[in-house]
Amino acid sequence: MFYIIQQTLNALQLGSIYALIALGYTMVYGILTMINFAHGDLFMVGAFLCFVAATFFHMSFIPALLLSILGTALLGVVIEKFAYKPLRQAPRVSAIITALGVGIFLENFTLALNPYPRFIPPLVCNLTWTFGELSFSLLQVMIITLSVILMLLLDFTVRRTMVGMAMRAISWDKSVAPLMGIPVNRIISATFAIGTGLGGAAGMMYGLAYPVIDPYMGIMVGWKAFISAVVGGIGNIRGAMIGGFILGAVEILVAAFFPSTYRDFVAFALLLVLLIFRPHGILGKPHAQKV
């Protein structure tokens, strides 16, 4: 029993990180129908910003978190302005290739500046509660709570505010939205800022939970989060959250029963099976192609 609760907690922790990153993928896809393959590397930048903040500026948890979020959000907006915006009319594949290129650039730029894996000092005091066999740390609780808060905030923004309404309008019909007076470019920038900011927050939490970070850490986590977004139905915000938690649970389950080397295999096999039977994801809606 304790074991199950323990594993559920682990699954929630991993799942909330995946869900936060998946939100960035799904928001950008919803608005631009473009897969931002550099998102996993923005997550990595978030972790490195936290490292810089904690090691060189000795910031505490909240300022470091803010720096991670704002820094990656700014980077996301800049990338969108310089790399993706000129390609809005270009074939979609060019945009995807550009995103891959930006991702490789971020990885290797970080690697060039910082050739060694780094260790993030603990920013949250190492408090652990134990009930019988069950033990959970303050960090775990903070990660889960904070992610849930961020997700609720995002859900509120998208459903209840003007900016969110404009986002939904653009993803509904990109050509009519500007006719209704929606500043498309500004909304797209806002989307990128929010999406990558969440990714940066996830990067920081991941870095605190698994403290050794390196410039390539974003690749695998990024792809996993992308799978979560697809599983939930890409373009659908609540779907991305659900997908993140599902993937987290599946990975923890696999690691509990099989050698951990099978973890990636199962994650990707899950994706393939799902795509065959439900190609539009759990919450996504199938749409017929019109001629």
């Binding site: 897969i35 790399a83 000129p86 390609l87 270009a90 074939p91 979609r92 594949v93 060019s94 945009a95 995807i96 290739i97 550009t98 891959l100 290129g101 930006v102 991702g103 490789i104 650039f105 290797n108 730029f109 690697l111 060039a112 050739p115 690749i219 792809w223 992308f226 799978i227 697809v230 890409i234 050698p259 080397t261 099978y262 990636d264 295999f265 990707f268 096999a269 994706l271 393939l272 795509l275 065959i276 190609p279 192609q289 001629v291």
Partner: protein, 343 residues
């Protein structure tokens, strides 16, 4: 007057195309001679061989991504299957002394294995389209890597060694020419027109009676077959393979070569593979910064030339034209067909 100009132009192409067999034979003998004569050192020869392998990879990926307009990102996975199949064959199956004799067989078997897996992947994945195909092939690449890491008798994550250095310049030349020949002839065949029609408008080509399902599967299988061939050559050139040689970064490399050279163009694939391979070597003194500059260049290229250098264009040599000699030959009335064309 205009017609005459065009005509002499076409005749010029035809004349240069007649040089093709000469070039091929000459190239083959050059590839035989280069390692023996002391013209270029072994480092340059190695780079030439890498270019050849990369040409096979980018041309085969161009078939799916460029000509068919789909977006496959798992090419390195097929390469891995070919590499491991061929290596296991030459190391453990074929008699040790005669591995050199069986080498082409091993490479072909690697290609066949990759093609077979390509068939298995193609059927479910072409139920989905566009972005989702990218996801399926991506997942496939990850799964291949993950499976190989879990098979202990091919070394698991540590990798597989023991291959002799069987990939030589002539073999690379032969396989490269062979794959370019097959892909070029496929593209300009009836099937190839079907492949292009899928890129232009899948629904329309379906309505025109093109069997799009079948054509997609064929193109995908042929593409993965050649990826497997390239994998076999790669394994016997490097003499050491591990699952990480074939991860997503390798797939990205191939993608870059395709989109750098230009989609839907065999000449583009040759250019892209050549430029990318040579540039990476030239920039080697810059260390890690070359991997910072390369993606930047790719981004700039995509912004200013989204179809790549040769995008959707082709070297004239590869394009089948009118049978010009037939045009020149006068018919019974003593008039050549071109006069008839001129009216």
């Amino acid at each position: 007057m205009e017609l005459k100009k065009i005509h002499s132009h076409l005749a010029g192409i035809a004349a240069s195309r007649r040089m093709l067999p000469v070039l091929l034979v000459g190239g083959f003998f050059l590839s035989l001679a280069l390692p023996r004569l002391d013209w270029v050192d072994s480092y340059v020869q190695l780079i030439i061989m890498y270019i050849g392998i990369n040409v096979i990879l980018s041309a085969s990926l161009n078939l799916v991504n460029g000509y068919m307009g789909e977006f496959s990102v798992g090419h390195a996975g097929f390469m891995a299957i070919g590499a491991y199949t061929a290596s296991v064959l030459t190391v453990s199956v074929f008699p040790p002394g005669a591995a050199g004799l069986f080498f082409p067989l091993a490479v072909a078997a690697g290609g066949a294995a990759a093609g077979a897996v390509g068939l298995v992947v193609a059927f479910p994945s072409f139920k989905t389209r566009g972005d989702y195909l990218a996801i399926v092939t991506l997942a496939f690449g990850m799964i291949v890597k993950s499976i190989i890491e879990n098979i202990e008798w091919v070394g698991g994550p540590r990798g597989f060694i023991g291959m002799e250095k069987l990939t030589t310049l002539p073999w690379v030349f032969v396989w490269t020419v062979f794959s370019l020949w097959v892909i070029r002839n496929l593209v300009y065949s009836r099937y190839g027109r079907g492949i292009l029609s899928i890129r232009e408008d899948e629904i329309a080509s379906d309505l025109m009676g093109v069997n799009t399902r079948e054509i997609k599967v064929i193109a995908f299988v042929i593409s993965s077959f050649f990826a497997g061939i390239a994998g076999g050559l790669f394994a016997h050139l490097l003499q050491f393979i591990n699952p990480r040689c074939f991860d997503i970064l390798k797939s990205t490399d191939i993608l870059i070569m395709v989109y750098l050279g230009g989609i839907g163009s065999i000449g583009g694939s040759i250019l892209g593979a050549g430029i990318y391979t040579v540039l990476l070597e030239v920039l080697r003194p810059m260390g890690i910064w070359r991997m910072v500059i390369m993606p930047l260049m790719l981004v700039l290229l995509m912004i200013y030339r989204p179809y790549g250098i040769m995008g959707l264009r082709e070297f004239r040599w590869f394009v089948p034209g009118v049978d010009l000699e037939g045009l020149h030959r006068p018919d019974k009335k003593g008039k050549s067909k071109t006069d008839a064309l001129a009216g």
